[in-house]
């Protein structure tokens, strides 16, 4: 099995503040981390590799320091990593990004065919959940999103069965391989990496590709290939706190019920 995981380096959103006056993101001081959903995707790929044999590759696009998230993936048990870095990629939106990544997946698959592509459900900085499905549709393979459990993978039959998270329940779906899955955090618990993997990660240098290494249209990437524009960033207004009444339960109930009824009536009007 060749399992390929698409990962992203993101700012630790816990450390990002929004300037209330200018409404801009203050990223100063925020450290960069492996997108948490992607960490679970790597973990899942590694678990299936250990069960079925094979290789786990990771792929990311970003500045040279995005090498760190590839090393982090190696800690988690990935075997090799590819880093796409080029000024031509800068400013790409989800459309352009999924295009670039899909060309890289094709290039990787041309040397070792890829059976399964993993992505995190979404990245915590943009929260769009578009890149995974974008890659699948460009590669023309099935996509299984919001996967919370991989029930089975049958390499001989080239099939996969997963449990998807859907509103109010679950859905069990079977698909042909190769396909692309995007995973929820619930899919697994991250394991604490063994020391030899930590050492291997520190010493690991990924394969680095620039735009000239890909069979890709330069006009479909970067700012040129990105129709998305951010019009405005704003902080949602803080909701006012509710009222708190203190007193005896039955007296408060008598006060509360007419108010609730009044609300219901006003809603119906």
């Amino acid at each position: 099995m060749h399992l390929l995981v698409c990962i992203k380096q993101v700012p630790n959103t816990n450390e990002i503040k929004i300037d209330p006056k200018t409404n801009t993101l203050d990223r100063s001081g925020a450290t960069s981390i492996l997108n948490p959903y992607d960490a679970h995707a790597v973990e899942e790929a590694v678990r299936w590799k250990r069960a079925l044999g094979g290789t786990v590759s990771v792929l990311t696009m970003g500045p040279p320091q995005a090498k760190e998230v590839i090393q982090k993936s190696v800690e988690l048990g990935a075997d090799r990593g590819y880093l796409l870095t080029d000024k031509a990629f800068a400013g790409s939106d989800t459309l352009a990004t999924s295009y670039i990544l899909s060309t890289a997946v094709q290039k990787i698959a041309s040397s070792i065919p890829v059976d399964l592509v993993f992505c995190g459900k979404q990245a915590i900085d943009g929260d769009t959940a578009q890149v995974g499905p974008g890659i699948a549709s460009r590669l023309n393979i099935p996509q299984l999103t919001y996967v919370e459990r991989i029930i089975e993978i049958k390499p001989e039959q080239q099939t996969i069965k997963v449990q998807r998270h859907i509103d109010g329940g679950h859905e069990i779906v079977e698909s042909k391989l190769p396909c692309l899955v995007t995973v929820e955090k619930e899919i697994n618990e991250l394991t604490y990496a063994p020391l030899p993997d930590m050492i291997r990660a520190v010493r690991y240098h990924p394969v680095v590709w620039s735009v000239s290494d890909l069979d890709a249209d330069i006009n479909a990437m970067g700012l040129k290939g990105s129709p998305t524009a951010v019009k405005k960033i704003f902080t949602p207004k803080q909701r006012a706190g509710g009222e708190i009444w203190k007193g005896k339960a039955d007296e408060l109930a008598k006060k509360l019920v007419p108010l609730l009824i009044g609300d219901v009536l006003s809603c119906r009007q």
């Binding site: 001081g29 450290t31 604490y192 990496a193 063994p194 020391l195 030899p196 930590m198 050492i199 010493r203």
Partner: protein, 431 residues
């Protein structure tokens, strides 16, 4: 068995990084193990880094290291409730390169220093805690980390694991520090524009100042408070002996809050926005608390070895110098291929013959003298404030009358002899 290193350094603070850097640049195969997410993530310091000792490790580091401001003015304030007596020194020779010292943020600086170690060939493993030293036939031969398959072996292990140094304790090099051997320090980083900082501290562009305060900043406890200028931030903190802090009902946080509200301090930090809050233990035991520094296969450096000169707020320079000495010793040991206690005792000798032990020896009774005689902070320090007020207030009273009044105030409830004894004791403690 996993691969064997020449040396393992436990802890990526300045002592450990100094040791790793010196060994790696001399061709040794070095592993640094750090429990934080990155070097510096768990390291706390008021913020003054001395150029001389750092330069002995990386020449001209100031050309590339992330530094905040070179210090051109250092102040010592004797703080009372509503007044202050100030002394200090400003020298423009400190404004020229190479500077005397700098304010730094350890989060940034240590990361840079660690990067230099990696460039020199050291292996840096983050997010990994060392649980035990691996001891065989009485000799330390490696470390056991908290990770699966987590044992790592080396000829020498350098313990740079900070003030608590559980590893040195486990080896029996020290017992749990007493409460009067450590200080608890709390600190805040406040955001303030460079313009405001330069205006309030009367600084030329880019230059910095420090203020060290005794007295009311620690509410009379033995310790100091400080205010340091960074590029766009003020570092403000206070610390006192844990023995005194723990007798109080006030929390360290309240102590710092009280200090920030002090009428002498408030105007300096008006409008500054709190960004970060830290708390940390500082070794304050001094000369008498320094444990044995070596055993077979192991050396202890920095805070783990109590190498801090509290009276002069020097710690990082002692730490990095001890790290360098330990490294030089391991390099020598490697040449002789002997890592027993006797060979490694070269490190102990280097520390003893350097400014580190000489300074610690000079102040060996200082902290205890101050702790045992609360009058220094509670009686004499306010009296000095009163004396200055008396002499500077023009109210028609003759100067000789005023002098008599001041002397009377100094000697309140004390004989001349008693006061003289207090004075001599203090001089003796810092002689």
């Amino acid at each position: 068995m996993s691969e064997k290193f020449d040396a393992i350094v436990v802890g990526a603070g300045v002592s450990g990084l100094a040791a790793a850097y010196v060994m790696a640049t001399n061709g040794l195969n070095v592993a640094i193990i750090e429990r934080g997410r990155k070097p510096g993530a768990k390291n706390v310091m008021g913020g003054v880094l001395y150029r001389k000792m750092m330069e002995e490790i990386i020449p001209e580091f100031w050309k590339e290291a992330p530094l905040e401001r070179p210090i051109i003015e250092q102040n010592f304030w004797l703080l009372d409730h509503n007044s202050v007596v100030k002394t200090g020194y400003r020298g423009m020779e400190w404004a020229d390169m190479p500077h005397n010292n700098y304010t730094v943020f350890r989060g940034k600086f240590d990361q840079w220093f660690a990067e230099k170690c990696v460039q020199a060939g050291a292996l840096l493993i983050n997010e990994t805690a060392v649980k035990h030293c691996i001891v065989k036939d009485g000799r330390v031969i490696g470390v056991e980390t908290d990770r699966p398959e987590g044992d790592l072996y080396a000829d020498a292990v350098i313990l740079a694991d900070g003030v608590n140094s559980l590893l040195a304790k486990e080896l029996g090099l020290h017992t749990e520090w007493r409460k009067d051997e450590v200080a608890l320090a709390v600190m805040e980083v406040l955001k303030l524009s460079a313009d405001k900082i330069e205006e309030r501290f009367h600084l030329n562009r880019g230059m910095g100042a420090t203020i060290e305060l005794f007295g009311d900043g620690t509410d009379g406890m033995v310790g100091t408070a400080y205010v340091y200028t960074n590029q766009n931030h003020i570092s403000i903190g206070c610390g006192a002996l844990l023995s005194q802090m723990s007798e109080r009902t006030t929390t360290p946080y309240e102590l710092l809050e009280r200090f920030k509200q002090h009428p002498m301090i408030k105007p300096l930090i008006e409008g500054a926005e709190p960004c970060e809050y830290y708390a940390h233990l500082i070794p304050e035991g001094g000369y008498r608390s320094v444990p044995p520094l070596v055993r077979d296969g192991v050396l202890v450096v920095g805070d783990a070895a109590q190498l801090v000169n509290g009276i002069h707020r020097e710690g990082s320079n002692l730490a990095m110098t001890s790290g360098r000495f330990a490294a030089e010793t391991v390099i020598r040991a490697k040449e002789a291929n002997r890592f027993d206690r006797q060979t490694l005792s070269h490190y102990e000798r280097l520390v003893r013959e350097s400014f580190i032990m000489k300074d610690l020896k000079k102040y060996k009774t200082a902290s205890k003298t101050l702790e045992d005689n609360p009058d220094y902070f509670h009686h004499y320090l306010p009296a000095v404030n009163d004396a200055m007020k008396e002499m500077f207030t023009v109210d028609g009273v003759s100067k000789s009358e005023k002098q008599k009044k001041i002397i009377k105030r100094f000697l309140r409830n004390k004989s001349v002899l008693g006061a003289a004894r207090d004075g001599i004791k203090l001089l003796w403690a810092v002689k």
